[in-house]
């Protein structure tokens, strides 16, 4: 019994430490950034504009991806409208009630708008919003989980397939082997959108191009936080003959970039301009990134509240609103931007319909 207890204790601590650690690393970054260069704008902001509540997804500010992109929009809004802000961070595996409580705390403080970053806030916003009819809520990537519409909630979605289409075009124009690869973090509907757009873009340029697809996890969300898995998935694609791999796998992407550097091949980033945040030795392997402008959506939400016409219901940020796009940092695709933009125009005009499922 005693031996088991001790063994068990060690095991449990290890488990807690593992979940804790992942986060502590982030916290570490967070604090480094927080203490030095990037102290949150919310600490210093004291204007008399709107008071914004921003509830992050797991990882929080400093994740160099989704949450940071939302923060960038928040920063712009604070500057533009002399706003103040409050941030809330999620913990891994937290209760539904924890998200709800976070939003209620923000609402109790009178913040408006309150933005939940990530579709996990869909249910909690749905539960909280009816109690605060005067406050505007938004959920990035969110949806209304029931049949009763909420007239003070905006669901800010993105046409990821359109952005993916464009980087697919870029890849098709740059490939020398006519073989491309796609690494998905988790095999769910959202990531399938990226895959579908990418494949459509590539085959639009050259119908003979083959796109090999590799998912890190079937359903475990850990697939978005598994650099080693990303590395393995990408390495397999490179070894299979692909010379450009597009990833939609969140933090696992760093592994994809490592694999690209090792294979001396190209990778394509996702969500934000990953050229800017990658280590120097990997930068030269990042062809472009598909941009998902969470910052634009965040800023627009604040803007709409300031203008007195808060966004409600479903809003899709697509190419026409600059909600998705591609990056050119590094200058690797400067020679083909005209071609890519032609496709973009065709999508905006409706000439090309990008599929949302493979």
């Amino acid at each position: 019994m005693k031996r088991t207890a001790r063994f068990a204790a060690v095991g449990v601590i290890a488990a807690l430490a593992l979940t804790g650690c992942g986060k502590n690393d982030d916290d570490g970054d967070d604090n480094e950034n927080g203490a030095d260069a990037n102290a949150s704008v919310c600490e210093s902001a004291d204007g008399d504009g709107p008071a914004i509540g921003l509830a992050y997804d797991v990882g929080g500010r400093g994740d160099q991806s989704f949450n940071d992109s939302a923060y960038a929009g928040l920063e712009n809004a604070v500057e533009e409208y002399d706003a103040t802000c409050v941030e809330g961070e999620a913990t891994d595996g937290e209760a539904e009630s924890a998200r709800e409580d976070r939003l209620r705390n923000m609402a109790d403080q009178g913040l408006n708008p309150i933005i939940g970053v990530g579709f996990a806030y869909s249910e909690s916003v749905n539960a909280v919003a009816p109690d605060f009819p005067d406050i505007s809520f938004a959920v990035i990537d969110g949806f209304d989980p029931d049949t009763e519409p909420n007239d003070n909630v905006a669901y800010l979605g993105f046409a990821e397939e359109q952005g993916s289409f464009l980087v697919g075009v870029a890849a098709a124009l740059k490939t020398e082997t006519d073989q491309l690869g796609f690494v998905g973090g988790v095999h769910n509907d959202l990531i399938k959108k990226f895959e579908a757009g990418f494949v459509a873009g590539a085959t639009a340029v050259n119908p003979d191009i083959k796109v090999a697809v590799n998912y890190i996890e079937e359903s475990d969300l850990a697939g978005f936080n598994d650099p080693e898995g990303g590395n393995q998935a990408a390495t397999a694609l490179y070894e299979g003959g692909a010379d450009i791999v597009y990833h939609a796998s969140g933090a696992s992407g760093s592994g994809v970039f490592e694999a690209a550097a090792t294979a001396d091949a190209w990778a394509i980033g996702v969500d934000s301009d990953q050229y800017l945040t990658a280590p120097a030795d990997q930068q030269e392997h990042i062809l472009t990134s598909m941009l998902k402008r969470v910052d634009v959506a965040t800023f627009n939400m604040v803007e709409s509240v300031v203008d007195g016409e808060p966004l409600t219901s479903y809003v899709v940020y697509d190419l026409s609103q600059d909600g998705v796009g591609y990056s050119t940092s590094g200058g690797f695709i400067d020679d083909i931007t005209t071609d890519i933009d032609e496709y973009a125009d065709q999508i905006i005009s409706g000439e090309i319909q990008v599929p949302t499922a493979p």
Partner: protein, 371 residues
């Protein structure tokens, strides 16, 4: 002597967790201050009297953590390390959600059916590990870890394959209104916006009482404890170990199956984003904290629920990452195991001393009589 023993026992039960808690407070404070945040602000937020809404959340979380802790405790009492609670309640929750969502039975009968399904699925999933252990000698630690991974992938696949599309993700069909449980407002003490203490939280109490009786008062419980403390002696006493291993795993898994059901019928109504993961692992820690005794597990669950609920607004009010309390939780568990051992040894020495004293007295008398 007896009063002394009682004081000693109570001291042993209370002293160790208190020492551990104090130690955890110190360690957490050090980490908070090293991270450059304000220690006083941290504890202000953590120790602030919870709002009614927070109380609702704490009670609800406690009920789920208690179930998870008891599931772990049953196995621990048998010297089995059921790491697979996570997978067991995941699969059980999904299956229960599918069955309840299909609404084959009307109203509350639907709830009963889902409870049965959840317990059976959890028991079967844990039972696989039990059967593998007794027939093939596979360590339950290994097999349950594997079963966790399988459960996770299986549920994900089933959800992607057969789930309803909802926004960016998939979910099971929501249960009908008639099968939703309103929860307790405690005669209006908790307002609508505070939320409700889930109806099925009472299941946790029932499970606690039943298990306490089964473990302490029945022959089965005696066999279970004897096997856990000294399996060879249990075998010699006539306990069929193989059967006990399987039964203990079934029981542990059955309880594990219940973990998420209070939230499901009280708040979530479908399996998808509302599903709360990680409770199985936390349950192991809670069981250790509570020394596998129902009362202890309840206290441990309450402590962990308090910590996580109170930590939630840390970022809002003190700009500290709420993840810090996971450090506190980890340190508490580690310290409590160490402290129990120290206090236990002290207790043993104390007991032996008292016996020696008592016997020396009688021994002297006999000597006197002999000479």
């Amino acid at each position: 002597m007896n009063a002394g023993t009682v004081v000693l026992k109570v001291g042993q039960a209370v002293l160790a967790p208190l020492i551990a808690l104090a130690f955890a407070v110190v360690v957490t404070s050090v980490i908070v201050s090293v991270a450059g945040s304000s220690v006083s602000e941290f504890w202000e937020v953590m120790l602030e009297p919870p709002s009614k809404r927070s109380w609702v959340n704490i009670l609800n979380q406690t009920s789920m953590l208690f179930l998870a802790g008891m599931a772990a405790a049953i196995a621990f009492r048998m010297n089995l390390f059921n790491i697979g609670i996570e997978g067991q309640y995941l699969l059980a929750s999904y299956c229960a959600a599918v069955v309840a969502g299909a609404a084959l039975l009307p109203g509350k009968l639907n709830v009963a059916a889902a409870v049965v399904v959840a317990m059976v699925v959890g028991a079967v999933w844990a039972g696989i590990a039990g059967v593998l252990k007794v027939t093939r000698g596979v360590s339950e630690v290994i097999s349950t870890i594997m079963l966790n991974a399988i459960a996770l992938t299986l549920v994900g696949w089933l959800l992607n394959q057969y789930g309803d599309s909802a926004g960016q993700g998939r979910r099971t069909t929501p249960i009908p209104e008639s099968s939703r449980l309103d929860g307790f407002s405690f005669f209006g003490y908790f307002a609508q916006a505070d939320g409700r203490v889930w109806t099925l939280s009472f299941v946790a109490i029932v499970v606690g009482v039943v298990l306490a009786v089964v473990i302490n008062r029945t022959r089965f419980g005696f066999d279970l404890r004897a096997t856990g403390s000294n399996d060879e002696a249990a075998v010699a006493s006539g306990v069929g170990i193989k059967k006990m291993v399987v039964v203990a795993m079934l029981l542990s898994g059955g309880v594990a199956g219940l973990i998420w059901l209070p939230a499901f019928f009280g708040d979530g109504y479908y399996y998808g984003t509302p599903f709360q993961s990680n409770l199985g692992f936390t349950g192991l820690a809670v069981a250790l904290l509570g020394r596998n005794r129902p009362i202890g597990v309840a206290v441990g669950a309450l402590l962990f629920a308090w910590l996580s609920v109170q930590a939630n607004p840390l970022q809002l009010f003190a700009d500290i990452s709420p993840s810090i309390v996971q450090v506190t939780q980890g340190v508490v568990v580690l310290a409590v195991v160490a402290a129990y051992e120290v206090v236990r040894r002290f207790g043993v020495a104390q007991e032996q001393r008292s016996i020696r004293k008592a016997l020396q007295r009688t021994g002297r008398l006999e000597e006197g009589a002999a000479t």
